[in-house]
Symmetry: D2
């Protein structure tokens, strides 16, 4: 089958071809709970660029070459002997992990922390291909109203935004404020999730006017240009004291320092984007009693919930489509800021 | 009345006399809800040294000279016209804030974040004196079994340890682990609080053998010497993955880096001690989904709960007594590591 | 001043005059924290009818005659010596309790359970009058956009609906369902609150087509006629298993049995209306692991949050106005089902 | 193999032989995730008597004859092809459900509510036998220190007590009170669990002096004889207002009315035992804002946590052993009050 394969890291992202389009053997059922999914769409994610850069090299155990692509949706092609719930042709979206359902963490609902899990597209072959092997435990059946290619980016981008949005919403009451830094692929979903799950006032922060306009459509109440006055602007909107929650989808450059400066006493700063460093004195953490919260993708049941929102039109995804054979174009477009929101590869 | 007054900062803590013993006017009732407390004991806290150093200068709005002392207990001396619940002679411990009970934060139970509050000993005159002015809303009546001088350090040190211990305990199940870094005045209370509020295994980390012995008495299951192998030692006790919670009562030197390295994925690092800096890359926060949690003293109702534990003998305080006139000796002893656990001044 | 006074109970609600319009002495400042509010509007509540019936006689300690009216908003007329936050003319809504702010329950944010509180209109003179005495701790300043007469019913009806809606929303995820039984004065607010605080599907259940039409406007997704097929209808909408949450604003007749029958395993039934009885076998509670949750008005901070929703147009109140001198007309209209949603008396 | 088989219901529990000891075919592996466990011990539970009585007939879908026994521990005998985590001879305790690990409820950690699960001993063949078929997802490996026959009753009785104890402990602060009604097989574990998970004062209520003495050993602070003065006695211990939590392990006779009368405003009544009926007026639920909470066994991860407590000696089980061939003796002893705490059958 056709697949986009990563053969070597490219720390500067300077080569014209990050991945190679080639024929690879089709994946096979290995365990009774395995399933093969025919890919309908595979999302292209900033994390894919970071993988190419080699940033993830030390974080996961993976050997090159392998097939990238961790945001996958499609139709059931084949199932293992232990699988009775799905049949060929069923449309599905795949939670990004092949979760080890027996791990204590997954028994507690913390799928992402289950030991012995695999992560297609990150630690094993992914969905920049015609077919993908995953586990029955990662599947969610799609309703008629949602086509695989249209929801694929929800498998990671959407799920990550939902996960952090749900965490933040739990602590936000009407009259409180949440600042969202970065209204791109994740941020524009995050704003819709917040608008669906709570009534806090959403303050969107971005450098681009177009992104801020999108934020408005998604449910933001206040728009702040991410220039040198952004912290003051947020403080002005929040009685000079900052927002009860700040979600940082950028996580590099000065967004971390700004994000922390926008966070009110007794509030929380959620870090989602990465590349930068958190630096803060202990006394500043203590006198303000703030929290800094890491966020890693989301759980299976959260993806179920996100699909319910999508199916009700509460969360919409802005997507750009590319052919699988144009994977490098998509990755370069993303790298050069030409993808407004979310790119999807179609085999 | 006699009082120990701070006249000037001493950034190096080099002078022989940090505070001056002198006669000052007695405090007066100013508002209908004010009370005057005759001090039975006033705890001496590392924060007092930090105040002398000037570390708090920019954090609070206070003008020198003023009377230090923020851990106070004693007996009611006088009450304002709006106070009907207390009468002269009642033994009380004082929550460290004169809380603005009308602030929205305090209506939600977050006393420490109530705007318009005063902090005797930090932002206004405190309890290194014969008499203290505070508000009726900070008082907790003591049972016969608890003498003011014996519980005074609970007003801040104990309360801080209880607050963070309760936060951590809420997320800890049997079989999980909590590492406590620093078994001094706060740490030895924190261990007792954790033992009272959950059944997680407590791992005490300290440089001193005596402190570790005390930790054992307080309820620690594992003792780790805080040397260059401390992180490995904690990892060995936790399947190589770290503790679900780490409470850092030191917060300076390498304790922060060590504490973060001891924190398991999906776990929380609680910062209580200060002086140092937190530095961690965004990607490390994200792939591990850890939380960094600031902690600031505690609420009124938490001090009520701590008194209940003290009254049942579940939390015991190791104290050393000094005369008020020996305030400088107490402060120097603390500075030079001669106070094993908690010093108390008695007028 | 003019006031509507209850002189005797009327268990059958058969007399033409439940209350007597008469001149009574103006309330006076008694404590430093007291305030006098000039009434702009006083909501008329089903609980007022229950008070007339004598249902509350044994529940609270009150002696007739007294002035009814527990949903009050207006303008500051006078303040006690300890009050610095408000001045004559400030528009305010009154949390229904004169909360004892020193009680441990209120320090924990559970105002309604604070011992030593008074309840104007229930346990002492209320707001069916020109002036009302309450405490500074019950006041919330209104923004320009909200007139006292327009928000008065929020003080109890709205607050109760918000309180239970917030409790329920906390446990509801997208794709889950909440059934709301009774779309009257409280129910139509409850639906708006649920729509603001979560994305669960709202199923409105009522006997009246007009009420169901209002429910739709308020944000209900499904409408169910409260006839003999109502339980089946809800089961059909919920995979045959019931709703994760059921909020019963009726609480009499067969609404309790129906409500419990509509509640899914591991779900919660919230009881708000009253008059009826809960009857269920222990084995049915256990095999289904359901919860039955009592609900009593709401907290001060919840009323603050509700005002934020009202100010943003997220919760709108349907009201009918009466002159204070027409109090009996209003009460009779309510008793005979002629008040569509919420009646308000204006002095 | 030998097994104790239920052939017919006996609504009065009047026959001498509730179950028949006979040879039945050995269970076989049916699915890749199945395991066969050689029984080391099978607990005998009051629910077994209720099954014989036919109380569960309408609650579950089961056809007679079948093998009873839902509290099982032993050693791995055989495993399906999809099982790699266990090998013959491994000592295990079995969570009582063969959980459908793909169900949304189990993905959220609510195993007991996962559709498509089986319940050996209740809805299919159980452990009153030499061998038991269950699923790999129900297994917990035992440490050397815990023998199967000694922990078997934890699989249901212990787990149920842990589940409700953990729920209650989450809301209990030091100084608050929890009343435990019934100190039998479940109650004596429940008290130990509460003592391990919180510092609330435990009030044990039982008719038997021996049971109260056991309660004392288990960690109860106050002992109350379950006579006609029990409610007053509990009120006296709780400022006349009742306990913040009441756990009713009896659930029949007057224990429910008493339990509700012992529950403080804003508190919770947990129902575990069954046989009786809950009856309370809506107005009483509302003015007191109490909660009535059903409880059904517990989750897989809770059984893991309970084993950790058992392994640390924090929860000890009082057991009486019988041969499998004496199953009827054990059941009759239980029925006639001759089992002090917990009976275990050994093949």
């Amino acid at each position: 089958m056709k697949a986009a394969v990563l053969h070597q890291y490219d720390t500067k992202l300077s080569s014209p071809e990050y991945v190679t389009l080639e024929d690879v053997p089709e994946p096979k059922i290995q365990n009774p709970t395995d399933v093969i999914v025919r890919i309908g769409g595979a999302g292209v994610c900033r994390t894919d660029l970071h993988i190419v850069e080699g940033i993830w090299r030390e974080k996961v155990d993976v050997k090159l070459p392998y097939v990238m692509g961790h945001e996958n949706a499609g139709w059931i092609e084949d199932v293992g002997k232990g699988v009775t719930e799905y049949k060929r042709g069923d449309p599905v979206i795949c939670h990004p992990l092949i979760t080890n359902c027996l791990a204590l963490a997954s028994r507690r609902g913390h799928d992402m922390h289950a030991e012995g899990s695999e992560f297609p597209g990150i630690s094993t072959n992914g969905g920049y291909a015609e077919l993908l092997r995953t586990g029955v435990g990662s599947l969610i059946k799609l309703p008629q109203t949602l086509a695989p290619k249209d929801v694929a980016p929800h498998a990671d981008a959407g799920l990550t935004a939902y996960h952090v949005g749900k965490k933040a919403a739990r602590d936000l009451s009407p009259g409180e404020r949440v600042a969202v830094i970065g209204v791109g692929g994740l941020g524009h979903i995050g704003i819709q999730v917040l608008a669906a799950l709570c009534s806090a006032d959403i303050i969107a922060v971005d450098r681009s006017e177009a992104a801020l306009a999108l934020a408005k459509e998604c449910g933001a109440r206040h728009l702040v240009k991410a220039d040198e006055h952004q912290v003051e602007a947020v403080l002005e909107l929040t009685d000079g004291k900052g927002a009860e929650a700040v979600i940082d989808f950028v996580g590099e450059g000065n967004s971390i320092d700004n994000g922390l400066a926008m966070t009110r006493n007794n509030g929380a700063y959620y870090i989602v984007g990465y590349g930068g460093e958190i630096r803060i004195s202990a006394i500043d953490m203590i006198t303000t009693e703030r929290r800094i919260i890491g966020n890693l993708v989301g759980t299976y049941s959260e993806l179920v919930e996100l699909m319910e929102l999508a199916n009700r039109g509460r969360v919409n995804l802005a997507t750009q489509y590319y052919k699988l054979s144009d994977a490098n174009t998509a990755l370069h477009d993303l790298h050069h800021g030409k993808v407004r929101v979310r790119a999807v590869l179609m085999p």
